[in-house]
């Protein structure tokens, strides 16, 4: 997206939609002069100059949708990927993610959601373009071919897509257009160069924080130091007198200072004197959070899985094993801090924002501006990291309110400290696991009682009104092992602050518990971790395949001298995964040398991105495992920057080897799942290395990192 966006005006003529671009684009020699851009469907714009533009309706936050989604449409449409330009789509119901129910990027769902939909859109467009060309030639469309955006007649006449796009848009839309079989894919399943790489190596890619509008002011925001606090009174005399300061504005999020540069705005913000109302969480601290969860665990929980009668089986069992696990709050720590640029006018508003939720962002901006959502244009930029942070819209209202008050465009940027201390943190958890064996040592019961706050109850209450929070029971309700009595439940226990979706959501919480505890059970029966799982996965071929593959490739159980292995298995987002971590413990500190990851994610779209996402997810999980925790004292988050919230660096990075199974099953998601297996794989290795069982994270709290 360019920092100085061009506009497009649309005129609706009956059922035909023609978007006319301003003459910054080059003219087509064949046209009568003016370039026209045809809206072929919700995602495709075809210019009379044969330019092909894909409107990307998902946020590009590193996971590669900017390339993998156009691949889906280009494959069926019949254009080379190198010919496709990508822009970000506006909010719109036509862009709803059918797996989630809104225009939302998350849940490792973009490719899964687009898999049929975008291919169908490409194939339908191709059929209509060919029909239009065939009409012009007076030939049977079935005798025509397509090669890279050109339709070829049986007599080798040519018409470009650009030349027939307008005529094609007047044709009736065919239903049920057949899609290519996988054997005919020319692009899908073959590694493609990322379309956004060039802009990301020369500094030209525009992130939210880079947006510049004519006449724009910059703003910095003083937010309450306690979570959920508010402004009582403030003194802005000193701030208003500082150079470049234009105004001080009380917003719904805190006190904002607007100035002619961000540095000046930030300096003046620091010169404000503010009396805060600590709010309901003024006395909150880590001990209280832990107490609330342990107390809440006395509740029965809502059932997520119930096979047989686990309670009875446990009661009558020959041997019962029990363990409690505890997990901390985590920050998202996107490298680009939160920001929003707002241009509010009497008749409407434009916001420029790194968002994963275009429609929710639009609604939040409209509410803050006192406008109808239809009057608000949302321009999505590249995201400097998402990880679920940008599913929130808390950084939008203040920017809108300041712009509205000052009648000027305003870019409001958070500092790292603002960001670290004002997040919707990954929820903490207190989880209780029970396994029971019969007299022959067979595992006959598995019980998992999960306790923690619910993100979904806040963000999508209509869901949790009807059912147990589906985003609290991942990698738990789907317990795959062949055990006759399985009971999993989730007890919602709020802790007074907002919690948010963080890469792999409850997979990260529950896989740590489930796969660590499976190892505890293996140890209890003196069985090897691999053999113990293998025997219980006989009915699960896709799990077995990745388990066997990772064991083979890592030479599980036979590491080099002084190294130790740990194993974990999981299905999430329709993807089956197994990991082996290879560690050593030196001077009492854990060093992760290698992570082996076997994955079955069905049909891969861009295989290079699949590997990249596994590597990315592993590093993300590693940071959390080693050092990730958010501490609260007197309602204030204690971590403020990367010195107090440590994350993995080049020097911490293990070698990561990915083994991705070739498959033509429906695609599974790959942006998140690998994050969840790192902690149990490493902690299982720690047990093998030291005999020490880790039941709470991060490792730094045990002085192991």
């Amino acid at each position: 997206m360019s920092a100085n966006p061009s506009f497009s005006r649309r005129s609706f003529v009956g059922g035909l939609v023609i978007a006319i671009s301003l003459p910054a684009c080059k003219q087509s020699p064949k046209s009568s002069g003016e370039l026209k851009v045809i809206e072929t469907n919700a995602w495709l714009r075809i210019g009379t100059d044969n330019s092909i533009t894909f409107l990307c309706d998902r946020a590009e936050m590193g996971q590669g949708v900017y390339t993998s989604l156009p691949m889906l449409i280009a494959e069926e449409l019949g254009v080379d990927l190198t010919r496709v330009k990508v822009e970000f789509a506006p909010p719109g119901d036509q862009y709803i993610n059918n797996l989630i129910g809104g225009q939302i990027t998350g849940g490792s769902s973009s490719v899964r959601d687009g898999w049929e939909k975008l291919r169908k859109a490409g194939a339908t467009a191709r059929m209509m373009l060919v029909s239009a060309a065939a009409d012009e030639w007076g030939v049977d469309p079935r005798s025509c071919k397509v090669a890279n955006g050109v339709v070829l007649s049986p007599q080798f006449k040519k018409l470009t897509f650009g030349e027939v796009a307008e005529a094609a848009s007047k044709l009736p839309v065919p239903k049920n257009v057949p899609l290519k079989p996988a054997t005919q894919f020319t692009m899908i399943g073959k590694a493609q160069k990322r379309i956004d790489t060039p802009a990301k190596v020369d500094g030209s890619a525009v992130y939210g924080i880079d947006v510049k509008l004519p006449g724009m002011l910059y703003a910095a925001l003083a937010q309450p130091p306690t979570l959920g606090g508010s402004v009582k009174t403030f003194n802005d005399e000193k701030a208003r007198a500082m150079p470049g300061v234009v105004a001080v504005v009380l917003t719904s999020s805190g006190v904002a200072v607007a100035a002619d540069s961000w540095w000046r705005a930030r300096k003046a913000r620091d010169a404000l004197t503010i009396k805060w109302d600590a709010g309901p969480n003024g006395a909150l601290n880590d001990a209280k959070v832990s107490q609330m969860l342990r107390k809440g665990a006395a509740g029965p929980g809502r059932v997520a899985r119930n096979d047989g009668d686990a309670a009875a089986a446990i009661k009558g069992a020959a041997r019962v094993v029990r363990a409690d696990y505890e997990l901390p709050l985590l920050a998202h720590a996107t490298l680009e801090p939160q920001n929003c640029t707002a241009d509010v006018r009497a008749d409407g508003a434009d916001i420029y924002v790194p968002t994963q939720v275009q429609q929710i962002a639009q609604a939040a901006a409209a509410k803050a501006a006192g406008l109808d959502p239809k009057q608000v244009k949302v321009h999505t930029t590249f995201l400097g990291g998402g990880f679920g942070r940008r599913l929130e819209v808390d950084f939008i209202p203040a920017a809108v309110e300041v712009s509205k008050a000052l009648k000027k465009p305003v870019k409001l940027v958070w500092t790292r400290e603002d960001d670290m201390t004002h997040d919707a943190y990954r929820p903490p958890a207190f989880d209780q696991a029970t396994g029971a064996f019969d007299g022959k040592g067979k595992l006959i019961a598995w019980n998992l009682h999960l306790t923690g706050p619910s993100i979904t109850a806040r963000m999508f209450p209509s869901v949790t009104e009807k059912m147990v929070d589906p985003f609290a029971i991942e990698a738990a309700a789907n317990y795959p092992y062949d055990v006759p009595n399985v009971h999993v439940d989730f007890q919602q226990q709020e802790i007074g602050i907002n919690v948010g979706y963080w890469r792999s959501v409850s997979h990260a919480l529950n896989c740590f518990v489930a796969e660590s505890f499976m190892d505890e059970l293996a140890v209890a029966t003196k069985t090897n971790s691999y053999e113990f799982r293998k025997a219980l996965l006989e009915k699960q071929p896709r799990y077995l395949k990745v388990l066997d593959l990772v064991v083979k490739e890592s030479r599980f159980g036979y590491p080099m001298k002084g190294h130790f292995h740990g194993l974990a298995v999981m299905e999430g987002y329709g993807t089956y995964m197994a990991q082996v971590a290879e560690i050593s413990v030196d001077g009492g500190k854990v060093r992760v040398h290698r992570v082996y990851c076997a994955a079955d994610c069905g049909q891969q779209v861009n295989p290079d991105t699949v590997v990249a996402q596994i590597e990315s997810s592993v590093i993300f999980g590693l940071s959390a495992l080693m050092w990730g925790e958010i501490n609260i004292q007197n309602g204030r988050v204690q971590q403020t920057n990367f010195d107090s919230y440590r994350v993995a660096r080049m020097t911490d990075a293990p070698r990561i080897d990915s083994y991705v199974i070739d498959s033509s099953e429906s695609p599974g998601g790959i942006g998140e799942p690998a994050t969840a297996l790192v902690a149990p794989a490493v902690c299982n290795a720690i047990y093998t290395a030291t005999g020490r069982r880790i039941r709470s994270l991060p490792l730094s709290r045990h002085r192991l990192a």
Partner: protein
């Protein structure tokens, strides 16, 4: 008015002298390729070259720059042809890409100083650049490739 030499151009900016070079580049000169990540020289996203040396521009007041040449990501090459940029494209290193300007500036200074960097050299030169997307493995491979390209190897 403060005079600066940025990417080979003589420029003049009207800013408070203690303004960090980072914000002068981004807001006064419109060179937004250099990024803000932490403001405390912890993350490396603001890395530029000062007389060819990698520095964290968020910690350098503009008054301390003088006439020393400043090179930003935009000035590394005209057309993405620097060996590091070529290697980054070959390996498709960036994911979200926000850290990559800083990574590239650190890496380019590294191979200038050490034409055949060892793993230890790479660790030392790159440890200050955080990547939340975890592209470290590819960065390492791309640095080795960049060194090859620079030395004229195939």
């Amino acid at each position: 008015m403060t005079k600066l030499n940025v990417n080979g151009n003589a420029v003049e900016v009207d800013v408070d002298p203690e303004t960090p070079l980072l914000w002068v580049l981004r807001d006064s000169l419109g060179l937004t390729g250099t990024k803000f990540g932490c403001g405390m020289a912890l993350c490396g996203a603001c890395t530029v070259h000062l007389e060819g040396q990698p520095v964290r521009s968020c910690q350098i007041p503009v008054s301390a720059v003088g006439d020393k040449p400043v090179t930003t990501i935009e000035g590394l090459s005209k057309d993405r042809s620097h060996p590091v940029q070529l290697a980054w494209i070959e390996h498709d290193v960036p994911q979200c890409g926000y850290c990559q300007s800083g990574q590239i500036m650190s890496a380019s200074a590294l191979i200038e100083a050490k034409p055949r960097p060892t793993d230890a050299d790479i660790d030392a030169a790159m440890a200050g650049n955080i990547c939340r997307c975890g592209t470290y493995q590819r960065i390492r491979a791309a640095i080795r490739r960049a060194a090859e390209i620079k030395s004229g190897a195939a």
